[in-house]
Every structure is written in C-alpha cells, then in structure tokens.
C-alpha cells in the first residue's frame, strides 16, 4: 500500500521508495528509507505528517505517493 492510504495514528514500515536516486537520497537524508518505521500524525488533508525517529516530517501528497509501506510491522519485526 502507499503512504497516502494510511490513516492517522497508524504505525507503518517503509518497504520501498520509488523515484530517481536523487529523490530517494533526499528522503533518506530526512529519515525515510526502506526498513524505517514511522507513525502517521496527520493525513486528513494536505501534507502527510510523519513521526520519524523522534522528529516530525511533513510530506506533500505527491512525495508520499512514491512511498510504499506495510502495516503489519509486528509480525515481521526483527
């Protein structure tokens, strides 16, 4: 599923980031890379706000649509 489909309060794990290397690099520097677990703080309308590693990050819908996440993080947690 895509990050844009997540509801408020959901905790998800990033599976993949689509896009060019520059784009993936840019998100990775802000803490979004495959394997990262983050919580959706706000997704009602407008940008999606995530809690990542103790900080918050706001992503536009366009960027968020490039991010594939998975919900069931407990089952596969390492």
């Amino acid at each position: 599923m895509q990050l844009t489909e997540c509801g408020i309060g959901e905790t998800v794990r990033v599976v993949a980031v689509m896009g060019c290397e520059r784009f993936r690099n840019r998100l990775a520097l802000r803490g979004i890379a495959p394997g990262q677990i983050c919580t959706v703080v706000s997704a009602a309308c407008g940008p999606i706000v995530l809690a990542v590693d103790g900080g918050t990050l706001a992503l536009g819908r366009g960027m968020a649509a490039h991010i594939t996440v998975e919900r069931n993080i407990d089952e596969k947690s390492n």
Partner: protein, 213 residues
C-alpha cells in the same frame, strides 16, 4: 621539516594566522543544535528553538581560544551540500566561500547516521574538520551510547561529544579545534573495510587523528 619547526609550528601568542584559516564554520543538519553550540562558543545570542529551520541566515560571532580570535559562523542547517532549498543554498554558498576555514560538523547523537552524509561531503571538499557529536545528554537519556573514539579512529579527524544546552564537552571541543584535520578518504575507506592503511610517512606529530588510539 626540522624538529624545531615541528615543535614551534603551532600558532602562539602574537602569531597571526591567515584570515580564512581563523574562520570556524558550524555545519550540520537542521535541528542538531548548531545555534546552541554557537551561543556556547561565542556567548552570542543566536535564536535557538526546538524545531528545524530556525537559522536561515548567517550569524557571526567570535571565539578566543589559544590566545587567538576565531570568527565563528553559524551556517543554516543542511542535509547535503547540493542545495535544494533556500537555507541549503546559503549553507552551500558559505562553505564554498571559506575553503580554508575549519569545519565544525555537528551531528545529532540520537540519529548520528543522518548527519554522516553531510559530514562526508565536507570531508570530500578537503576542509580541515572537527566533529561534534551533540545532544549527547539526550542520547544518554535514550540509552544510546556513541563510541566517539571509534569514529575518530575511522575518520581520522577529531571527534568530541558535546551537549550544547548544558555546556558539557564544549571546553574539550574548544581545546581540540587547533587539531582539525583534513581527512584522507581512501584511508577512511580502508579502515571502514577493516584494513589498516599505511600511515603517511610524513606524519606531522600527533594531531588527534586517533590512529594510535
């Protein structure tokens, strides 16, 4: 270089250091405590707040250490030196303007990996560098330990842990500024890969590179 030159090559009282080399640039990701550290070093009053992007312009101050004044520049937070927003543009421009300056790269101890990309970009530019692992108090509260000695050994540049809000470690940081090193990137790569590169033949005395532990 003769022994005498080596012994007396450190800047002493009254010895003028070339202009650019006296500049200290505070470089780091947004919200890692560059401005707090700036205030600690200079006694200045840069705005500090707990959210990223507070500093978008340049703040300058001065620091007197080792009997010489240094100009300290608080650079806006940047994730990389390839500018993608206004603050990063300012940061990249300043770093370009002072190639001879000492770069004080500030990392957030609670998420150190995020700052390493920027640190590597600074090292690639061949700037003399010192690393401050800031927010060590917050990391400790979270149970995160940072092995600064290992980081120093890998990078070959001095690494000091600090907590700018409490002032912890800032004295050590000031004391080590004159030991700023240009990183030898091929050697860094070898050390990361587990090899032990040959130390350079003309090692200019102990510079806090951590090669000897």
């Amino acid at each position: 270089m003769s022994l005498r030159d080596r012994l007396f090559s450190r800047p002493r009282l009254g010895v003028e250091v070339p202009e650019g080399e006296r500049t200290l640039l505070l470089i780091g990701n947004p919200n890692v405590g560059k401005s707090a550290l700036f205030n600690r070093l200079t006694g200045g009053s840069a705005t500090v707040s707990n959210y990223p992007g507070t500093t978008v312009d340049v703040t300058r101050g001065s620091l007197v250490a080792d009997h010489q004044a240094r100009e300290v520049i608080d650079v806006p937070g940047a994730y990389s030196l390839e500018p993608r927003d206004a603050a990063e543009e300012v940061a990249a421009r300043i770093v370009g303007e002072y190639p001879d300056a000492v770069a004080l790269v500030v990392l957030d101890a609670t998420r150190i990996e995020r700052g390493l990309y920027l640190l590597l970009q600074v090292l690639e530019r061949g700037m003399r560098t010192v690393v401050a692992v800031n927010m060590i108090d917050a990391a400790r509260a979270k149970g995160i330990m940072v092995d600064t000695a290992a980081l120093q050994h890998l990078l070959g540049v001095p690494v000091v842990s600090t907590a700018a809000t409490t002032g912890e470690g800032t004295r050590d940081l000031v004391g080590i500024l004159h030991k700023a090193q240009v990183a030898d990137l091929p050697a860094v790569r070898d050390r990361v890969a587990g090899k032990t590169p040959e130390p350079p033949a003309n090692l200019p005395g102990c510079a806090g590179c951590g090669r000897c532990r």
